[in-house]
Subunit: 446 residues, 2 copies
């Protein structure tokens, strides 16, 4: 049996960052990763393998840098864990002993149990380079492709596939608008307008009921009776935490999602940590379990775990997850952090919002200037920021991370109103109209 | 004599924002602005009038929106203030009475007393549309242009003028590198490389000693004896607070710069406020007077003054100025906030730095990806962030504002290390390499 000090299962962003962080904080400990996929992918880059990247292989997630740093990487699959003996067993019948074990085994794409889902031409998104290259090659040969799911993954797939000459793209979402989990309707509308302009056929408020065809899919029947022609179907519905082997370690699981962890990413077993999609996330404000599966969240968790494996070295300030992310649709950036107006109301918050529209450069006649829109949500009495949504061009893409910091530091509307910030003609709206400041001011005035 | 409740002198960004903020917080008060220039300019847009903007007039600072909101605008020049009687006198021999007076009269460009400085072809930058249109038209006819001053204004002028076909541009700076007031040398180097690549002749470590020619400038003699050919000279040296009429109001002045103010922008007279370039700025960390003249700082101050004219309505959290700004050189963004490593050491701070280099998209093979570099400076014992410098492409331009918020909230390196942030292939570096987080981690490890 091979023995290592720190054993990590999974080599996605969470596993890789857990390894590099552990290496930084505990340079004398031996570290190994076991990964089941020979060549993985940068998860958020998968949509861009269709057309933006010249070669889909450019999106490979490489482990070379880890190995150079002295992290051993084994391609194999862990099938069970003996948490008493502190060892794992693999498919190749090997055993690895550990002092500290980190679960970073990610999630599996949801494959709904629809009639015909197993027909050829239907593609769930597995983060496996070999599988994806083949799937993309297949899809590129189709004339009509349907993307199922109008969250940000589905939206990005629809955008990218619609760049390919000769493919007609449809996108189906069961909610009344796209992106509704992270955006209020006025922002969803911007995404819909952009995709429609590119010729994407958007169908909202309908579920897929049946996938029809012989060997290969031919058409898809929706819950409202409509039939959509499609020889290719991409599933962009989401994913479920991979918890299969966690059960063999007798770890506490959250009934709604993932391996239960505390704020240092420790599971119910003091020597086992879990980070990324496989671990349970709690909302920053409501403390409820939330299905946030973002590589950025995963890496933030991996840094906390990696640093604190043996001692609490890096005190964690923020105990909950704020879903902070950006999506990009053909030059339009849509970003969200924290609670939307709708979500905040549903959760029982009494809120005020501030919203401003403008241009993301100044003067707005500079080349490349785009419309911008910022909406902030505040708690009415306490004045604390609960969330923000941004739409703009590339230059203000990081604006949501500023909003994210404001949320994590629980800043008030008046603090944001008097914020000092940099402005520049090419990079931001004018200092007289800096949108985060103005939106905060709007809210204060209400 | 015309009487108004709130009288503002100056209609630059500071004056305009003071007016709109006052209107929001005190809707029943009458507000008037007196401005001496008929058509002003968006100050930070001035460099882009040379080539980026199709028509220089696009950079006009318009007061229409103010007037629509009920703010009266008078074109005239205030020549003296009677702070006992609470009234001002103008060049047109008019008098205006006020309850509250706001100085927002900005700064004057520094015109050094060099021999030959008054020759034709030498252009100080006055924020006057008529003057600038004429100056730009003149400069466009030249073959060799020298920009004096290698701060961000001079650098942006050199970049823009070098876009014009047929003009050779030289840039002279007395310090050993460009941009040294806000950047450490490794960042200055990036600006120098970019400009050199565009063919700009960069001369550092030399002062202009003499401007030579007949009626028009022909060449410029430097302190090291070199002669630079130039029929056009642009002064990008900086500006001095305009305090002439403040003296008539018997306001306390700071010996090093501007009208003395407290954190609510109140002068020594309780009914007179001063905001923007004409008011004195104190550094956030050292509390020393600093010559920060940025439209973004000015508007932040104007918001504080406008809201608090009659009552303290918006409590100001941050009592000092952090110089947070971005500059843009032909697609390269350089941004800075707070103290540089060099400045921090000179001020006696014991520091640790963290620095990372990477790419601003992921994978780095996506179209438009550029190198990124982030350096953070922390106080060694307290771990608090003191400053940050960023170089990247457009997409991460707002990153410096995140650093600015971190400074204003006095965040620690470990807080930044565990930050939750959004990443996206087109918009940021990968979540495993988010530069602010990694730079903080580097610093913590030291």
């Amino acid at each position: 049996m091979k023995k290592v000090d720190i054993l990590i299962i999974g080599a996605g962003p969470a596993g890789m960052v857990a390894a590099t962080t552990a290496k930084k904080y505990y340079p004398n400990k031996s570290i190994a990763i076991i990964k089941s996929i020979k060549a993985g992918c940068i998860p958020c880059g998968i949509p861009y393998m269709f057309s933006s990247l010249k070669d889909p292989s450019d999106n490979k997630l490489k482990t070379d840098a880890l190995e150079k740093k002295g992290v051993e990487v084994f391609i194999d699959e862990v099938i069970s864990i003996d948490s008493e003996e502190k060892k794992v067993k693999t498919k190749d019948s090997k055993e690895y002993g550990y002092q500290k074990l980190i679960f970073a085994i990610g999630s599996d794409p949801i494959v709904p149990s629809i009639e015909g889902i197993d027909k050829e031409g239907v593609f769930p998104i597995y983060k496996d380079m070999g599988y994806l290259k083949e799937a993309i090659a297949q899809i590129k040969k189709k004339k009509k492709v349907l993307v199922i799911g109008g969250g940000f993954i589905g939206v990005e797939f629809a955008d990218e596939i619609s760049n390919i000459d000769g493919i007609d793209v449809s996108l189906v979402e069961m909610l009344p608008h796209l992106l509704l989990n992270s955006f209020d309707q006025e922002f969803s509308q911007l995404a819909e307008d952009k995709l429609k302009k590119k010729g994407v056929n958007i169908i909202t408020g309908a579920r897929v009921e049946k996938i029809i065809g012989d060997k290969n899919v031919k058409e898809v029947k929706l819950s409202d009776g409509r039939i959509v022609q499609a020889e290719g179907v991409v599933l962009g519905i989401g994913a479920r935490p991979n918890i299969k082997i966690a059960k063999t370690a007798n770890l506490n699981l959250d009934p709604r999602g993932g391996i239960a962890v505390d704020e240092y990413m420790r599971t119910s077993n003091p020597d086992i940590f879990a980070v990324g999609d496989c671990s349970c996330k709690r909302d920053f404000f409501t403390r409820k379990t939330v299905p946030v599966m973002l590589a950025s969240t995963a890496t933030a968790e991996a840094r906390v775990a990696g640093a604190n494996l043996y001692k609490i070295k890096v005190v964690r300030e923020n105990k909950g997850t704020i879903a902070v992310y950006s999506t990009y649709i053909d030059g339009l950036v849509l970003s969200s952090a924290g609670l939307t107006e709708k979500n905040a109301k549903e959760e029982g918050f009494e809120i005020i919002t501030g919203e401003v529209q403008g241009v993301d450069k100044h003067p707005g006649t500079l080349p490349g200037a785009q419309k911008s829109r910022v909406k902030l949500v505040f708690s009415k009495q306490s004045g604390i920021i609960l969330g923000g949504q941004v739409s703009c061009g590339m230059a203000c893409a990081q604006l949501i991370n500023l909003v994210g910091v404001a949320i994590q530091k629980r800043m008030s509307a008046t603090e944001l109103e008097t914020l000092q910030m940099a402005t520049h003609p090419y990079l931001t709206s004018s200092p007289t109209k800096y949108p985060v400041v103005l939106a905060a001011q709007e809210a204060v005035k209400k």
